[in-house]
């Protein structure tokens, strides 16, 4: 890992407390870790305090992939993906996605060699993020992959029972996939 490589902290505008001024320098790894900390926290809050509480505990509303048609809550994975799409529209440079070795939607299988390697690594050791560099198209990226763990009963029941799931024995605390975060390198 070459953490010595740095990028200008234009990303600081995203609300990160890493840079105290526009001239501060932040390593790719630190930037990725900070962005992921925000993503993971928001994702956990939505999953536990909205979906799991209202669907599984209070049983007042369901979460559904077709939330508009079903007048339901968006699934936690959709919430995450919609955020990623909005970030992509803002052309902030970095991108992120939710992937898995056992995805319900096959489009979310790892595609690049680094994604495969990283998702394997975080599945085996969820506590240890995976970092690497890869060139996609004509751009070189710093790619960080973090385990995405089942944090509530809603995660495992929905995935284990879904008609398209390739894995039906997820347990709470297990890595169900990973967050793949990419930052273009200069």
């Amino acid at each position: 890992m070459k953490t010595g490589k740095t990028m200008k902290a234009a990303w600081a505008a995203a609300g990160l407390a890493l840079a105290s001024s526009a001239s501060a320098q932040v390593s790719y790894k630190d930037m990725a870790d900070a962005l992921h900390a925000v993503m993971e926290s928001d994702r956990t809050v939505y999953t536990r305090m909205v979906v799991n509480r209202l669907q599984n505990e209070e049983k007042v509303i369901k979460a559904s992939e077709h939330f508009k048609d079903d007048k339901a809550l968006p699934l936690p994975a959709q919430m995450f993906r919609f955020g990623a799409e909005m970030v992509a529209q803002k052309k902030m440079g970095f991108s992120y996605s939710l992937q898995s070795l056992w995805p319900i939607n096959k489009q979310n299988m790892p595609k690049t060699a680094l994604e495969k390697k990283g998702l394997d690594a975080v599945a085996k050791d969820p506590a240890k993020p995976f970092y690497g560099e890869e060139t996609l198209g004509k751009t070189k990226y710093f790619t960080a992959i973090y385990a995405d763990k089942a944090i509530a009963p809603a995660c495992v029941t929905c995935h284990n029972e879904h008609k398209d799931t390739p894995k039906k024995d997820f347990k709470i605390g297990q890595a169900m996939g990973g967050v793949v975060l990419r930052i273009p390198m200069k």
């Binding site: 077709h66 048609d69 799409e85 992509a88 529209q89 991108s95 996605s97 690049t112 198209g137 751009t139």
Partner: protein, 478 residues
């Protein structure tokens, strides 16, 4: 043998002619007003690099609508595409948004098909390669990214990639009526559901609470005495027509539409335009301007006339300028007339001509005769100006809005399934009917001749999954 003098005169005339033609073409190209100028618009026509598609031909001389700045590149064109079509794509939950192609993990695929810009697939001015929906790619373009589909969906093995977009299967942008779980919900439905669920219009009921409605100007109190100056009441029917309308019942008097104010001075407008209607009917006017009836007005051109249409129209109305009142009729605003007669008065295509023989029209006649409740008949508007729930962005008051962009659900026709066909018909029957071009041309007189397999394929897949689960449970018990 030409003399030097006659040669000189020839060259002088040649120079004058050249400068005149160049000046004329330059004025046509560079003056923004040229598109609407009867003298200069032919110059623009001559400079068109090629015929435009059915979607843009009405505004093809308003070059600036798409080419906002000269030599600004494809990104500037993209802004123009999004300006008119962006909301439509959002509403359709676009399955291939730009972010799918800017995602670095799809970089390899995007090199083959860079659909980050609309013009990758929809090139204008190229009639020789323009296919339905204005697509200018070869019909098997799905292959680039989905060549392994048969691994995930064995039922798709052997299917040609030029059939993905076949009727009842997949659409690149809008799959709201075609996604697997939706199809699964509607397996086995009868051809006719035995109910009609065309929502009732409710604007008057919610107008007072609806954001943007000028309730201070038009308190919802019935009006019985027209307030137009007597000397201006030239039409003897106007007062009686107005009294019979929802306008009179809802507090909108003559002055509500005809009175305008400029620099503190009030004056009477003889023929109010769509902007006046938009005072209360803003979303309707927006829909009108987005569709083929109003898109010329939206781009600052003269109103559309049937004479300019590419579709067959009655010659007697060639010069009729389209506005709100050309369909609704001034003062009377008869929605029943607007729902059929206004359409058939101009359109002369086979589908329109066949309407009066159709079972839909038979139902419409029954509704007009009071033998069926409102919404029981099927008019042109039932399908082409569908009613849908509408909220102002962020607003909580819901109203049933008539979509006045009659092209909104027309292409691809599967867009019509949910808001229109499924009000009365089962999904399978409706899909089969829309896929049958002859049946569409005959205005649905008869039955679909072929069955689209998508629902059967979903049913088979669900059975397979269920069987797999059953066998696994049996194995686990042993």
């Amino acid at each position: 043998m030409a003399t030097p003098k006659s040669r000189r005169i020839f060259w002088i005339w040649w120079g004058i002619l050249t400068v005149t033609v160049a000046g004329y073409l330059s004025a046509g190209l560079l003056l923004k007003s040229a598109a609407g100028n009867p003298w200069l618009s032919p110059a623009r026509s001559m400079l068109l690099p090629g015929k435009t598609s059915h979607g843009h031909y009405q505004i093809e001389l308003a070059c600036e609508s798409c080419h906002a700045k000269p030599f600004a590149g494809r990104e500037a064109l993209q802004e123009a595409c999004v300006r008119c079509h962006g909301q439509e794509l959002k509403d359709a939950v676009d399955k291939h948004p730009q972010s799918k192609f800017t995602d670095p993990r799809n970089a390899e695929l995007a090199e083959k098909l860079d659909a980050t810009l609309c013009v990758t697939c929809h090139v204008e001015h190229r009639p020789e390669i323009t296919r339905p929906m204005g697509v200018t790619l070869a019909g098997d373009f799905c292959f680039h990214c989905h060549q392994d589909i048969a691994k995930d969906r064995p039922s798709h093995k052997g299917m040609g990639f030029d059939t993905c977009n076949s009727a009842g299967c997949h659409k690149f942008h809008d799959n709201r009526a075609l996604y697997e779980d939706f199809l699964a919900k509607h397996i086995g439905e009868p051809a006719v559901l035995g109910r009609t669920t065309l929502p009732k219009r409710n604007f008057r009921d919610v107008a007072a609470d609806f954001p943007g409605y000028p309730a201070d100007r038009f308190p919802l109190k019935p009006q019985t005495v027209p307030d137009a100056p007597v000397e201006l009441m030239k039409s003897k029917d106007a007062a009686a027509d107005w009294l019979a309308t929802a306008h009179a019942r809802s507090g909108v008097n003559c002055s509500g539409c005809h009175e305008a104010e400029t620099a503190g001075k009030q004056f009477w407008v003889r023929k109010p335009d769509h902007k006046v209607c938009a005072t209360c009917h803003e979303p309707e006017a927006k829909g009108f301007l987005a569709g083929k009836h109003g898109m010329r007005l939206a781009e600052g051109l003269s109103p559309m006339t049937p004479g300019q249409a590419r579709q067959p129209m009655h010659s007697k109305v060639r010069g009729t300028e389209l506005s709100c009142t050309s369909c609704h009729g001034a003062h009377r605003f008869d929605t029943k007339k607007a729902a059929v007669e206004a359409c058939t008065g101009c359109h002369r295509d086979g589908h329109t001509a066949a309407y009066e023989k159709s079972p839909h029209y038979a139902l419409w006649k029954k509704e007009l005769a009071g033998e069926l409740p409102p919404g029981g008949g099927v008019s042109c508007a039932s399908c082409h100006l569908p009613r849908d729930e509408y909220r102002e962005p962020g607003g909580s008051v819901k109203r049933v809005l008539v979509q006045h962009n009659q092209n909104d659900n027309l292409r691809p026709s599967e867009k019509m399934l949910r808001p229109v066909c499924m009000s009365c018909h089962g999904l399978g029957f409706a899909t089969d009917a829309l896929a049958d071009a002859k049946l569409v041309a005959d205005n649905f007189l008869g039955k679909p001749r072929a069955s689209i397999k998508s629902l059967d394929m979903v049913a088979d897949r669900l059975k397979e999954i269920e069987e797999g689960r059953r066998q696994k449970n049996v194995g686990a018990k042993k």
